[in-house]
Symmetry: C2
Subunit: 406 residues, 2 copies
């Protein structure tokens, strides 16, 4: 019933053209193939404006004509689709035991997905940044070799990220006050495109909102798996960032004050109960016989295999992980009332065994009937949602109507 | 860095006029006295449009000319202010031991604030609705007797409210599935204005956002005091409602699994630790000698008096309340990163003794440096913030540019 509006801002004509260009691009992205007349009818822009913008966007190869025409009353229309063939955007992801890079074209189609084994928690920030830069350079080389221009690159970090792209704290990596964006930009020798940093959860929810099973859902949360559990929150169709960009820190909510110790110094935090290292430690007590685990994929495979064999200890342990997950999600459901909470990483990989218990706990602990309608599901985007979201985020300036620099 | 935009909607000319009317009203509300030329310059509307809208708004007595002119280059200008003299909006509040009604004019100035002792938790929903209707009728009689037209009325409830104005659950009142808006509308014999229902926390944060010490803050939370603790959340300048309008349920987050039993069936919920009945029970063990407390104001006075006398038991108890409050607020600070959390009701009344411990706990438990910048303060709006917010909400249709029905 209430709405609190932003103060409207006066605009100049350049801004208006940028905004209209964004309208046209968005319409084509969502409704392609479509004609100039369709765009005019749906955006409210007049036909001359649409025609001028489309000409410019075709000339810059952001749109192209398909040559298709559609049967309709009146003249046949030339249909438009996104082109973006000459452009690419990159996303990087710092996982618990790997680095990932994804490149997409303007339409969001993947051009490449590369993984490189790398145990960031046991490396120094400098080593991690060098490894990121190496991986990024290879991906940049590949897409530029294909004749594409890179529009931007965004890195996802499991921790706090400030608006300048620095990381004040990432307990899962052991980082404190790392000026990641600046150092990565320097390592890439100030490339002619934006190098951004965001939390892995923000980028993952952006990927969900664009490409996931709940794409377009106005009230949506992505909970990351991995070493730290973070929340990316979309509310009312917009990413919730908070006053200083630190929103979404959810991994250290205390669920069990008598629970296991956490890297943050607390006890029984959500991450200490359901983070990947915690799950491996709890379900595979022999896993640390030869020192700390740095490569989690084989351990995750073992847990899945044991669960498929109905190993009672593993099944019981996974149900317990599910109850903790459901408890955590109930806090989000009570406070944010999202339409869906989507879990990623190992929580998605173990979803078949974890989610039933989690859903029961969610329903029991949420005050609104039927958990306020909140669905709880595994992400369909696999374990590279953050990198995909990073590439998606890197398209933002073009999608906002700014033309790429030539 | 990311922004996720709403799909732009096509508009018709009637909608455009409504939207422009809202722009003009908002500009005058925020910048009065101002001239037609000021409005045109700041809203980007052309002068003829502004002139036509202002004429209509003066004719409907939503604006008036002050007759003042301002010295400036060129012709002296006639200055405009909000009129709204012939209009009133009402807000009602169901507190733990009283009902409150507030009426405001279009500019948000209070016309009346009336309280009536009423122990809703020990009354039936039907009795409470009859008492609300009686109080509302008296207030309506007063403002219509002054020649004003009532634009709308909104009731704040400590519980869940669905979009139809029904209350699926309000544990603090013992309510379940109460069709409040419909029943109140019937009790008022279908008045010619909107009868709305919202959560007390949503209305309180609306009042804070308009009239409080943090007015205009884009990322703001109000935590209600009283029997139940609820959160009203403004994020990115907009009220966070969630998918089904159930957002802000924060009173039953478990802070201490070994803590006292809660009306919701759980243990150690935030409400069971820092709600008004819990605080009275904890600090004044003799208060329930003659049966359950139904009138909390004298008990609150006693606690304040003992705290002022440095009573060690009461001081220790209030610091403990503060630590639980700070723990709860740290969850909000980590997840939402608001600029400020403002507490109302008894938490504000006891703020001098509760807030220092709460702020220390908040800083210790929030991962971002300096609690992510989150301030924690007592509301300056007194104990009628919800009713004031209800009246403010009832102005929404006019503020959105719809003309009042004559």
């Amino acid at each position: 019933m209430i709405s609190i509006h932003h103060q409207p801002q006066p605009t100049d004509l350049g801004d208006v053209r940028v905004a209209n260009r964004a309208l046209v691009l968005r319409h084509v992205r969502q409704h392609a193939p479509c004609s100039r007349a369709d765009i005019a009818a749906h955006t409210g822009l007049n036909k001359a404006t649409v025609s001028s913008l489309v000409t410019e966007l075709i000339e810059r190869r952001l749109l192209r004509e398909t040559g298709l025409t559609e049967n309709r009353v009146g003249r046949p229309a030339t249909m438009l689709v996104l082109d973006g063939e000459p452009y690419a955007a990159l996303g990087l992801q710092i996982g618990v035991d790997e680095l990932v890079v994804v490149a997409v074209d303007l339409g969001g189609s993947r051009l490449l997905t590369w993984r490189r084994a790398f145990a960031a928690p046991s490396a120094s920030p400098g080593e991690t940044i060098r490894a990121l830069a190496t991986l990024a350079r290879r991906a940049i080389g590949r897409v530029t070799g294909q004749g594409r221009t890179v529009l931007g690159l965004t890195v996802g970090v499991p921790g706090l990220v400030d608006p300048a792209g620095a990381v004040p704290l990432a307990t899962a990596l052991g980082w404190q006050d790392v000026t990641l964006a600046a150092e990565l930009r320097a390592a890439l020798r100030d490339p002619g495109f934006t190098v951004g940093v965001d939390t892995d959860a923000n980028l993952a929810v952006l990927a969900e909102h664009r490409h996931g099973a709940y794409a377009g859902t106005a009230d949506l949360v992505h909970l990351t798996g991995g070493a730290a559990v973070g929340a990316g929150v979309v509310t009312g169709g917009r990413l919730l960032r908070g006053a200083r960009g630190f929103a979404g820190e959810f991994g250290h909510v205390t669920l069990d004050p008598a629970g296991p110790a956490c890297a943050c110094g607390g006890r029984g935090c959500l991450s200490a109960l359901i983070g990947l290292p915690a799950v491996v430690r709890r379900l595979l007590p022999d896993s640390e016989q030869d020192g700390p685990v740095t490569d989690f994929l084989p351990e995750l495979d073992r847990i899945q295999a044991l669960a498929r064999q109905d190993d009672p200890g593993v099944r019981t342990g996974l149900a317990e992980v599910g109850r903790h997950l459901g408890h955590g999600v109930s806090l989000l459901a009570n406070l944010l009332n999202p339409e869906a909470v989507v879990v990623g990483g190992h929580l998605a990989a173990l979803g078949s065994w974890v989610l039933p218990a989690a859903r029961a706990e969610l329903a029991a602990r949420t005050l609104a009937p039927q958990a306020g309608g909140c669905r709880l599901d595994a992400s369909t985007l696999g374990s590279t949602a953050t990198a995909l979201g990073g590439a998606t985020a890197a398209l933002a300036t073009v999608e906002a109507g700014r033309l790429p620099t030539r």
